[in-house]
């Protein structure tokens, strides 16, 4: 754009375009911003709008400076000094909108458009789903149209601008694809995302309190997806093992401290094996969920002593790992002294009625004690519900003898409590149970709503045995999943329910697309890139090859584009015009060029005056050209004789510099 144009003042049309683009971008960003930020942006935007309408004045420099300081302070206060992703975005958005109030010339306007492009890019700091990508396209088109508007000399209607912008964006797709496939990926994220970016992630915690899991059950977001190689386990075998909790402290169950150095339990497996690949959504913790019981920890992870798999770093991006699990196993047949103490530990002086109850079981064998407890759950009017009453003092007593309404965590904890009280070593395992098969793509979707807690009891000679007290209360939960277990499904969010088959189907379709998106677009990292390109070329490629190919491909695309552009220009010229261009090139050598709007005849008269010795030739060329272009014969079609004549005339014209 010429410099002079940049200093041009803005028309009201310009401002409306910019305001509309920013409004759209902010609307999409709204969930990522505190309400007060969105509101003040709306306020400043409205101010600019009324300034265009000349109902309000633009603020002067001092007021603007004061406003920026105020807004900056407000961001600091609102985020309590934590300057991470969220605070930065809020500040950027506010400053962008304030900049509107001093945007008067085209240069500032173009700068604003660039800032707005950056804001669109920021959407992906929060979410990289397909939906976000789709949402980013309309503002991209609108913004590009806004930019085009700035460089137009004469006004155009909005349909034209939007069409042109979409066309230009479409034309950039090849280059985008080349960059996507070939741009060298750096292992790990390109730049560090601030810590607070992970705060919104959900998943299993490292402790268990009443209400933890039932809260998680309300969340239908996907926890992980599983693709089985070969056989699939039945629903009641789908126990996805997460953290194992040993330590009871009042209401809370915790993992044992690593420092006490518990010995690794020994696992012996028999029978059938299930091979599978898990794509785990980021949850900002270390758990790598695996089917009971896995033999080998996934790459980049380890087993804890009680066989839950943990990765070395919190899972902050989607990862994939393969594993094999055996449904029949023996775990930790030998129970060490320290483990025994820990697995019988209970806070003293609580829940007296529970202790009272188990006194009568003293003479029974451990197996009988288990049955006794399960029998109690089965025969007494216990109810499986997502909305249990709140338990205060002596919660186990309260639950077992009064309320009798609870969710899996209630059953698991009270069962383990009873077992420990009667001297049987027991622990709680948290994780997920079940999953939903997506018929499109044949993979299992496990959601946060499938979160579950169960018990493991140590029996002499058999090691740690899984006992799920929830199964005693509600067998449907284990056999068919949570939507079957809760008769009153209105307790559950829509997607976890079973009574909307069409919605389910639509979701399955969407999820299989989303899954491919995750695998192929978001999961396209350094390893996958090289793997893909090696497959494509059949050669082993390095980083320098990538750069070479990328540059080459882009140059190729640009050459192809310019070729087509040139051809288009050429194709628009008819044969006579092409010959006339030749003639103009000859005259250009003696510094003679037609001005804009100078016709062939006028130009020829001017040239003839300056080049008297060629006067006749030049005038003849002009009239011959005019006859070819404008006469009645020329409208009837191409005139080969006349063209030949013009060509000869131009060939014979050899101007020597005076």
């Amino acid at each position: 754009m010429p410099k002079a144009l940049l200093r041009n003042t803005l028309s009201s049309q310009h401002m409306y375009w910019l305001l509309a683009s920013l409004a759209l971008i902010l609307a999409i960003h709204a969930p990522n911003l505190p309400i007060w930020v969105t509101a003040s942006c709306g306020l400043f935007g409205a101010w600019r709008y009324f300034a265009v309408k000349q109902l309000l004045l633009m603020p002067n420099r001092w007021l603007l400076m004061l406003l920026s300081l105020l807004v900056g302070a407000a961001v600091l206060l609102s985020f309590k000094g934590q300057f991470g992703r969220d605070a930065s975005l809020s500040l950027l958005v506010l400053m962008t909108v304030l900049k509107l109030l001093e945007t008067r010339v085209i240069r500032d306007y173009v700068f604003m458009v660039m800032l707005a492009y950056f804001l669109i890019g920021n959407l992906f700091l929060f979410n990289q789903s397909m939906l976000t990508f789709a949402l980013s396209i309309p503002p991209l088109i609108l913004l590009t149209a806004t930019l085009i508007h700035a460089s137009l000399k004469s006004p155009q209607n909005w349909q034209f601008l939007l069409k042109l912008a979409s066309k230009m964006l479409l034309q950039s797709v090849p280059v985008m694809l080349i960059l996507f496939v070939l741009f060298p990926r750096i292992p790990g994220p390109l730049w560090g995302i601030p810590q607070d970016a992970y705060s919104g992630m959900t998943g299993l915690g490292d402790n268990l309190k009443f209400g933890n899991i039932s809260n998680l059950t309300l969340n239908t977001s996907v926890a992980f997806r599983v693709q089985f190689k070969g056989n699939m386990p039945t629903n009641n075998q789908l126990y996805w093992r997460g953290p194992v909790l040993w330590h009871q402290n009042g209401n809370e169950w915790l993992m044992p401290s690593k420092r006490i150095g518990l010995r690794n339990e020994i696992l012996a497996t028999t029978g059938a094996v299930f091979d599978y690949t898990i794509t785990l959504e980021p949850h900002n913790r270390n758990w790598l969920l695996l089917l009971d019981m896995p033999t080998l920890a996934p790459a980049g992870g380890n087993f804890t002593h009680d066989y839950s798999a943990v990765s070395n770093q919190p899972v902050r991006k989607r990862i994939r790992y393969t594993a094999s699990s055996y449904p029949s196993y023996q775990l930790g047949v030998a129970l060490g002294e320290r483990e025994q103490v820990l697995s019988l530990q209970l806070t003293e002086g609580e829940n007296p009625r529970a202790f009272e109850l188990v006194k009568s079981w003293q003479s029974l064998s451990p197996e009988q004690k288990i049955n006794k407890a399960l029998q109690m759950f089965r025969e007494q009017p216990f109810i499986y519900t997502l909305r249990p009453p709140i338990l205060r003092e002596n919660p186990i007593d309260e639950f077992l003898f009064n309320t009798k309404r609870g969710f899996c965590e209630h059953y698991a904890t009270s069962f383990v409590y009873l077992m420990r009280a009667t001297g049987v070593p027991a622990r709680i395992v948290t994780g997920y149970q079940g999953g939903e098969l997506n018929p499109n793509g044949n993979y299992l979707i496990v959601r946060q709503s499938d979160a579950h807690a169960w018990a493991e009891v140590w029996l002499q000679g058999r090691g740690w045995v899984r006992v799920d007290p929830t199964a005693a209360v509600s067998p449907e939960r284990i056999e068919h999943g949570i939507s079957e277990a809760l008769r009153d499904s209105s307790e559950l969010p829509l997607l976890a329910r079973g009574d909307f088959p069409l919605l389910k189907k639509a979701f399955f379709n969407f999820d299989s697309i989303n899954n491919s998106w995750n695998q192929w677009v978001l999961g396209y990292d350094d390893k996958k890139q090289l793997e893909f390109l090696n497959q494509l070329t059949g050669k082993k490629l390095g980083l320098s090859d990538l750069v070479f190919w990328m540059t080459g491909a882009i140059v190729l695309v640009m050459l192809a584009t310019s070729y087509f552009l040139f051809r288009q220009v050429k194709a628009k010229l008819n044969p006579a015009q092409q010959l006339y261009q030749q003639y103009l090139r000859k005259l250009k050598r003696v510094n003679l060029q037609p001005t804009t709007g100078e016709g062939a005849l006028n130009f020829a008269s001017r040239a003839a005056q300056l080049l008297p010795s060629y006067q006749q030739q030049i005038l003849q060329i002009a009239s011959s050209y005019n006859a070819l272009q404008y006469s009645e014969q020329s409208s009837d079609g191409v005139q080969p004789d006349m063209l030949k004549q013009l060509e000869n005339l131009i060939m014979q014209l050899n101007i020597k510099k005076p």
Binding site: S154, P155, T595, T596, G597, E598, G599, A600, L601, N602, N626, A627, Q629, Y630, S631, E632, S634, S635
Partner: protein, 310 residues
């Protein structure tokens, strides 16, 4: 055989055109362009507005043209107390026949010179302009057709002169062309001053008609047959579109049609049977300036310098 006839006709036509231009230029010295423009305007069947200071030869030009073309000529001096009836005529009760008898006004002629049109009141102006558009007048419910061809050559003093009623844009649009004469160059001025006859020569028998009504009608017909190629229409449309995007009110479709017709007439005057961009450019300023509310031809020139020929 037919071809030779056609050629003969063409040669004849060119001879007539040359005779008209020469005849007029004998009287209006050093103003060949303006003479050609006025002729192009009349050949296109349009009305002409000549705008200039008093004493520049406006009336002389109009008068000479009419005489050379061999047309009936009436002149009407417009003043502020002129009434519509003074132009178009009046119905008078005739006792002998006991009926109203229509007495045609000066408008019933081939060429009407409306001298200093902007001195008349708007009411009178509009009566004339109506006649110009309809080629007929209606009085007392009776319609009277005007003779064919019918031209109005109006002269006008520049607007800022005292005692004038400037023509509104809608009425300016009725005139196909507006031309200005300007001062003569030194050589023509000398010739003018030397001549004994001076102004009297215009009214004398010196000027012989070289044309008659039928020839003029066939010339007008020939103008319409001058070829306009698609390439040229592209250029015309570019010009029109440019005025529409750059000015608050651009050229109307009527102006576009007029521009094409004038360019055809100009091409005929140049002895060509097809229009080239230079023909459009030659008539452009005269056709569009008054429609774009421009004081002079400067703006038209700028437009021509900005719109490329495709």
């Amino acid at each position: 055989m037919i071809k030779t006839n056609e050629n003969n006709e063409k040669i004849m036509m060119q001879t007539v055109l040359k005779a008209i231009i020469d005849g007029t230029s004998q009287v209006i010295l050093g103003k060949q362009t303006q003479v050609k423009l006025s002729l192009a305007c009349l050949l296109s069947g349009g009305h002409l507005l000549i705008e200039d200071l008093p004493g520049m030869g406006k009336t002389t030009l109009a008068h000479t043209l009419a005489q050379v073309l061999g047309l009936n000529f009436r002149r009407s001096q417009f003043t502020s107390d002129l009434l519509p009836a003074d132009i178009i005529g009046v119905s008078v009760y005739d006792r002998a026949t006991s009926a109203f008898q229509f007495h045609p006004g000066p408008v019933f002629t081939n060429v009407l010179l409306a001298d200093e049109i902007n001195r008349a009141t708007p009411k009178t102006q509009s009566a004339l302009l109506e006649a110009m558009e309809e080629q007929q007048i209606t009085i007392d419910g009776e319609t009277h057709a005007l003779p064919k061809p019918f031209f109005v050559i109006a002269t006008q003093n520049p607007k800022h002169h005292i005692g004038t009623f400037p023509l509104p844009e809608s009425q300016l649009d009725r005139f196909l062309m507006r031309i200005t004469l300007g001062y003569p160059d030194a050589q023509s001025e000398r010739a003018l001053l030397k001549s004994q006859a001076g102004r009297h020569s215009t009214t004398g028998a010196l000027i012989k008609p070289v044309c008659d009504v039928n020839t003029l009608i066939s010339l007008q017909h020939a103008v319409k047959n001058v070829h306009v190629s698609d390439q040229l229409l592209d250029y015309l449309q570019d010009l029109i579109l440019y005025t529409r995007t750059q000015f608050s009110t651009g050229l109307s479709p009527r102006a576009g049609l007029g521009l094409r017709l004038c360019a055809q007439a100009w091409a005929l005057l140049e002895g060509r049977d097809f229009v080239i961009p230079e023909d459009v450019q030659a008539v452009f300023a005269s056709v569009v300036s008054h429609r774009l509310a421009a004081e002079n031809s400067e703006i038209a020139k700028q437009i021509l310098e900005r719109v490329a020929i495709r």
